[in-house]
């Protein structure tokens, strides 16, 4: 592979877990809820995926990852939506909970080091024809199968959100939950289901890290990806396709450092790592176009 192909491949690889998590959070935020406990769902997914894949199948691993993510999201939904505790603070607690529980269980089950454990990993499956497209073929279509699942989920979520009655209900809930309730729609149920869906995709994001990339679990391996995903949702302007593009921008920013190292350039790569966040802020400020958050996002006063 050429240096450019390696860079693009790295971009897609880094973007995959981010896009899963950010796509789930997009649905959550469009329902008017902000779950900054996404980090907790990702690390739980990584651990759940690690344990389940240990039984011998990578797809079983992803099922375990998804369930673990849903479990964390269920705790969030219980307190932030049912009890109506503050979303931001509940989310902070869920992040701590996920990181703490997984680290504790890991040390209890596998010892402090956990070394020598290996699980089946998902190798690369090249798609015939598509992977022979010059330049972008291999980066996009010589990836683990879970990446192709992502390619299917992105347009599906977009279609669902903008072309179905349920999708309209979701978007309306995010703008004004009280109006939705008056119109006879169960806003609370929409929010709970959205949060659980976000947890499922967050869990898969963690599963990708373990099953399709690292091949093992490490404490705190989510490494802030939950918060990065929240940035991606904003940069992608709460739109599934925009979010997919934004995930690629964040992926490219971190792939760029290896690209520069490969070329022997000694540029301050931290500038590139920080750049997507600056872009997000500029985007929010309307300097790089208009980005409007769902009107009731994170506002406990509006949740009824």
């Amino acid at each position: 592979m050429s240096a450019v192909e390696t860079f693009l491949e790295g971009t897609v690889r880094t973007a995959t877990p981010l896009a899963f998590a950010a796509l789930g959070e997009t649905v959550v935020e469009r329902s008017g809820v902000i779950n900054i406990g996404l980090e907790g769902a990702i690390i739980a997914g990584a651990f759940g995926g690690f344990v389940a894949a240990g039984y011998g199948s990578t797809w079983l691993g992803f099922a375990g990852a998804m369930l673990a993510g849903i479990a964390m999201a269920a705790v969030f939904a219980c307190f932030a939506i049912h009890v109506r505790a503050d979303q931001i603070i509940t989310g902070t607690a869920i992040s701590l909970l996920g990181l703490g529980v997984t680290a504790t269980l890991y040390r209890q089950l596998y010892g402090a080091t956990g070394a020598g454990l290996s699980i089946p990993t998902m190798g690369i499956s090249e798609l015939p024809l598509l992977s022979s497209i010059p330049v972008i073929g291999r980066p996009l279509f010589a990836q683990p199968s879970i990446t192709y699942v992502l390619y299917l989920i992105i347009p599906a979520v977009w279609w669902w959100m903008y072309h179905t009655h349920a999708g309209l209900g979701l978007r309306a809930t995010g703008e004004d939950p009280r109006a939705v309730v008056v119109a006879g729609v169960a806003a609370k149920r929409i929010q709970v289901l959205s949060v659980l869906f976000g947890g499922a995709l967050g869990g898969i994001a963690g599963g990708v890290l373990v099953i399709a990339q690292a091949g093992s679990f490490a404490e705190g391996m989510s490494a802030g990806r939950g918060f990065i995903a929240i940035a991606i949702v904003v940069l992608g302007r709460w739109h599934p396709l925009g979010v997919a593009a934004a995930a690629l921008i964040f992926g490219a920013a971190s792939a760029l450092q290896y690209f520069f190292q490969a070329l022997g350039w000694s540029l301050p790569y931290q500038a590139f790592l920080a750049l997507p966040y600056v872009l997000t802020l500029l985007g929010l400020a309307g300097i790089a176009g208009k980005a409007v958050a769902p009107a009731s996002l994170g506002r406990w006063q509006d949740q009824r």
């Binding site: 931001i88 918060f227 802020l281």
Partner: protein, 303 residues
Amino acid sequence: MNAELALVADALVRATPLIIAGLAVAFAFRGGVFNIGAEGQLLVGAIAATAVTLASSGSIGRFSVVLAVVAGALAGAAWAWIAAELKRRFHVLEIISTIMLNFIAIHLVSFLVRGPLQEPARIYPQTETFIKSGRLPLLVPGTRLHLGFALAILLAVTLAWVFNHTAFGFRVRATGASPAAARIAGLIDTDKTSLAVFLISGALAGIAGSVEVSGVTFALYENLSPGYGYTAIAVALIAGLNPIGIIASGIFFGILETGASALQREFAVPSSLASVVEAALIIGALTIAAVRGRHPIARVAES
């Protein structure tokens, strides 16, 4: 020197940045500002304090410590000001902008310790170690307990006084409780008050960062903060956003975190259990507030 005293001192050392950053969070939340950016403000505070300390390199003696704390406060306030401006001009939610600014600060530290501020030998990704006069004096000789802890107590008492006995404190609480009501009934300039809340909250978090480098690490490096800015949210909340209560909850979290490390050494109990306990405490505090039918932030603002 006995081991118990050293353990207590370590817990108080750990509590120091948590108390100061906890005050930053509490001040913001009470004033209706959702500052999730204490972590970033703490880091830029640490950067500024380090830069000032290294630049003065002993030429102004002990005075450089004072200067470092002031520089940390200014840097933290400046970092928070970005979020304040984004909110005022473009209605950007501070919840989101402060999270972005946290990440930018993390990468800024990473850049500086490998670039302009790296130690002269250019081997380790960290700055030069502070010389003796650039360090905060010790409170108890022979332990690690430094003057920063006394500063944390002083700041908490000051903040409690500002809240309860000054017109400014009333304006902050009124703005936090209901900006519209504060504007109409109280003739309060809520924009101005809100800006002040951002700046003071940022300054406090910046002080936490400067105290950490001047009192504990004596150098700037990556992962300087194990998430103090986020734990501070829990510290503030469990104390019901009460400044005096934050002294207690900060010390409690300090004991929890240092105690967890000791337990791991002695009895092989995973220290990660501390985060589980912290999370359970936050959720417990939230549930109690919610079951009483009162939002913690509104509840404090009402009282």
